[in-house]
Symmetry: C2
Subunit: 233 residues, 2 copies
């Protein structure tokens, strides 16, 4: 084991939570934060927070905690969003169109620089600033435009084929909106936007907020110190 240090994938997943929380606090004028507070806001133990931030190479200052601005800069640097990523959308149906007109990616450090579809009827059409391109130009444009990540928004049955083409073209990462588990060879990374799970999270929060969970009372009375500290946002 020499170089190739790894941030564990679950830590990477939590980077976005840390980032949103830190940005919120910075906006409110806070400048430092302790692992305990940060954990409290996110429902993580402070050990977990220190582990995660240790993995990203940020150790904080004893008695002071973490400087919020530094930590944000570090997270933005690590994710490369401070320099910008060039992305393509593959599949210009409803979701693809929505993504092409979504105007907040740029502020987050992502620029969509191409849109592809394999439907001859769509090729050449314009959506916002984009002209829909045929899949057989994928490889050429990935190289020409420095595209490293792609968003797959095809129907489920076409998603794997799209992913294969993207891998062939040299893409490094895929964000998948199609309800289909993609197989990609390492080091290519594929992650999924899971709408069912977003709804499930909401449903559970609704059940709690509306007091629909009386059956928890028994357990709730007994269980852990965390309970007292739980906060609602």
């Amino acid at each position: 084991m020499t170089s190739n240090p790894r941030i564990p994938r679950p830590t990477a997943t939590r980077v976005s939570l840390y980032l949103r929380e830190l940005e919120r606090r910075l906006e409110q004028g806070e400048s430092t934060i302790r692992s305990r507070e940060l954990g409290h806001s996110l429902g993580l133990t402070d050990t977990q927070v220190r582990k995660d931030l240790g993995h990203i190479g940020h150790l904080g200052f004893p008695g002071v905690g973490y400087r919020i601005e530094d930590l944000i800069a570090r997270l933005r640097f690590l994710s490369g969003t401070d320099r910008g990523w060039r992305a393509a959308v593959v599949g210009v149906g409803n979701v693809g169109r929505a993504l092409l007109s979504y105007d907040r990616f740029e502020a987050e450090g992502f620029r969509i620089v191409a849109a592809f579809d394999d439907d001859p009827a769509k090729i050449g059409q314009r959506v916002g600033d984009h002209q829909i391109l045929p899949m057989d130009r994928l490889r050429e444009l990935v190289h020409e435009r420095g595209i490293r990540i792609a968003i797959v928004a095809t129907p489920p049955a076409a998603a794997q084929e799209a992913a294969d083409a993207l891998v062939d073209a040299g893409i490094s990462g895929i964000l998948n909106f199609a309800p289909w588990r993609l197989e990609v060879p390492p080091p290519v990374v594929a992650t999924e936007v899971d709408l069912g799970m977003s709804l499930l999270q909401l449903a559970l929060q609704v059940r709690m907020a509306t007091g629909d969970l009386p059956e928890l009372a028994e357990h709730g009375a007994k269980d852990s110190p965390m309970r007292a500290r739980s906060i609602r946002r």
Copy 2:
């Protein structure tokens, strides 16, 4: 503190992670799991896992761990997805159309039973099985069709107005696709689908997978969770 037990919101957020991981393991023929293994898969400490599962009222069996099927049933029960939620879509642009034709919500325990828009040109149009309805019928239909949650997919400038109308109509929870932070009065819950953050997670994973993070080598070599722990108080 008497009744009204609460699952901390961050625990609720992790329920979906537990559920996906447990379902995956069940599919692979596993029947029990220890907090340590579950934590390992999700990058959480086992203390964190035990806390979370304690909050949802599941304590496991010493020396055995958790029965996967029971735990899944418990999570489905708590979220009400074993009985089904009726949902509405508000705003039938590209995202709204995509949601109305997304066919996996039903399997997850959600049924979209109405679609609303305030654009007279859209009202009466059909999208899949749905006819687009005017906003002034919202209240009536929320009651008639037992709608408890709504997905807001309007343009950002219209999202708050849509949320206000939904709250007035008696809805309990909103999943917001519009890039806008909604204000809703308790006990109504609003959560956001944050696409920028999904991309950021992907970006970070790509940087790790492709070895784009040599600057971590230095830290990585020295730091371990142990070290981070000893330095921070």
